[in-house]
């Protein structure tokens, strides 16, 4: 069905592009996790100075297209004097975007946390920071692992927009090779299968996490929390 000669000829290019996609996603994902955790924790404060900026940030990100956010960063930041490469613009935009969604996930995890945990921790004399670090956040992350995996799946798909900034990831490369070979089915088919492959792996991982969470009361196997102390 697909012309396998063309496919095998360009397979190395596609794999290189796949690597680029994963690089963008991984980097953005790490920053997004940090941003999301900080913002998520902030959103649980009672102060207006926390709630309002968080609300504006997440509201803006969720109400506007990623493409517009990407343009904002790429075209807008240089005006303020900050010169960025396309790659950096992409990472910034994706991190801010995913970070907002992750913050919502973290917030949900925090608000569904048993209040007694924090109470016991504070009663023992642990500070707020220690309580968060040692008791609350470890449990929250275990709880939200599955939604986080889903969010990463969305991030992978979002990286396709990096093509707009001429970053040699999978979607850009697909177009490039389609133009060169005049064989769009192969040129787009292989990348789509690659995206789909990642999507499947992540979906299975998410399901595995869910199943383990439900059956296992032996939490030790999960993160080796002997190291908490």
């Amino acid at each position: 069905m697909l012309n396998m000669r063309i496919v095998s000829l360009y397979l190395p290019d596609f794999f290189e592009a796949l690597l680029e996609t994963l690089k963008v996603a991984a980097l953005s994902g790490i920053f997004a996790l940090i941003i999301g955790t900080v913002v998520g924790v902030l959103s649980t404060f009672k102060s207006k100075f926390a709630i309002i900026p968080v609300g504006i940030y997440t509201g803006f990100i969720r109400s506007t297209p990623l493409l517009v956010q990407l343009y904002f960063v790429h075209y807008g930041l240089p005006i303020t004097g900050l010169m960025l490469t396309s790659f950096q613009s992409a990472i910034i935009a994706f991190s801010l975007n995913s970070g907002a969604y992750i913050s919502e996930i973290v917030r949900g995890g925090l608000s569904s946390m048993d209040k007694g945990q924090a109470e016991a921790s504070r009663a023992l004399g642990l500070s707020w920071a220690q309580t968060m670090r040692l008791i609350i956040l470890p449990q929250v992350f275990k709880k939200i692992l599955s939604p986080l995996i889903s969010q990463f799946s969305y991030l992978i798909k979002d990286t396709s927009l990096a093509a707009v900034l001429v970053i040699p990831e999978l979607t850009y490369t697909a177009r490039k090779i389609a133009a060169r070979t005049y064989m769009p089915f192969e040129s787009f088919g292989v990348p789509m299968l690659m995206y789909f492959g990642i999507y499947l792996v992540l979906a299975l991982l998410s399901r595995l996490v869910d199943r383990k969470k439900r059956s296992s009361s032996d939490i030790r196997r999960w993160f080796g929390f002997r190291k908490v102390i």
Binding site: S63, Y71, I156, L161, T171, Y199
Partner: protein
């Protein structure tokens, strides 16, 4: 995709004119919605029911198709449709590509929403309807469907928001809508913040209320 360069002539476009031009362009984005969402909901429900009842062959086929669409980035589907279809004789313009891809995407995601809604339904409902002597269609339309729509409303609204935002991506195959227009404006006025801020406001005006509605619906459950 070219950054503004030296020697470009700067044109001063007054703010009101920017707003009106972008507002008109935004109508092109919104124009997609009635058809895309209508098809998405209709076909989404049908696909959900087919898969729920595990009708042989068709269910599996639909499952594969839905998953491939859900697993692929929107942009690459757009490129694939736009660049590949001419090779089998179908020449699509940007707007038509948009309609096709947005419809396919919305259908795929909505079918999952409805399917999970079906699976989450209380079996007792089916049984009560049957005990009352209803046939399949009466059961589905009078009992099942209304309840599914109510429980999945937050997700449906969420998908509407996604579709609205995805219309911006159609700009990348040449369609003249708000994002493309704003880039043209930006290239003339050399002030990206103004142009993109106006674009953001338009999207926020439409999407943010929907998001609030979705959250409120979720809270009520």
């Amino acid at each position: 995709m070219v950054r503004v360069q030296e020697g470009d002539m700067m044109q001063d476009i007054p703010l009101t004119q920017q707003i009106s031009r972008l507002g008109v362009a935004f109508l092109s984005n919104l124009a997609f919605l009635p058809f895309v969402l209508g098809i998405g909901i209709l076909l989404g429900i049908i696909i959900a029911f087919i898969r729920f009842h595990r009708i042989p062959v068709i269910s599996q086929l639909l499952a594969v198709m839905v998953e491939i669409v859900r697993g692929s980035p929107f942009l690459i589907i757009v490129y694939a449709v736009y660049f590949a279809l001419p090779y089998i004789g179908i020449e699509l313009g940007a707007f038509q590509t948009g309609i096709v891809v947005l419809s396919i995407t919305a259908t795929a995601y909505l079918s999952e929403v409805f399917r999970s809604g079906l699976m989450a339904m209380d079996r007792g409902q089916f049984e009560a309807a049957e005990a009352l002597g209803m046939n399949y269609f009466q059961k589905s339309f009078l009992i099942v469907l209304p309840q599914i729509v109510k429980t999945t409303m937050p997700s449906i609204v969420g998908q509407i928001v996604m579709t609205i935002k995805d219309t911006s991506i159609v700009s990348l195959v040449g369609m003249v809508e708000i994002v493309r227009t704003s880039r043209q404006i930006m290239q003339l006025t050399l002030s990206p913040f103004t142009a993109f801020s106006i674009v953001s406001v338009f999207f926020i005006l439409v999407c943010y209320p929907l998001i609030v509605v979705s959250k409120r619906l979720e809270g009520r459950q």
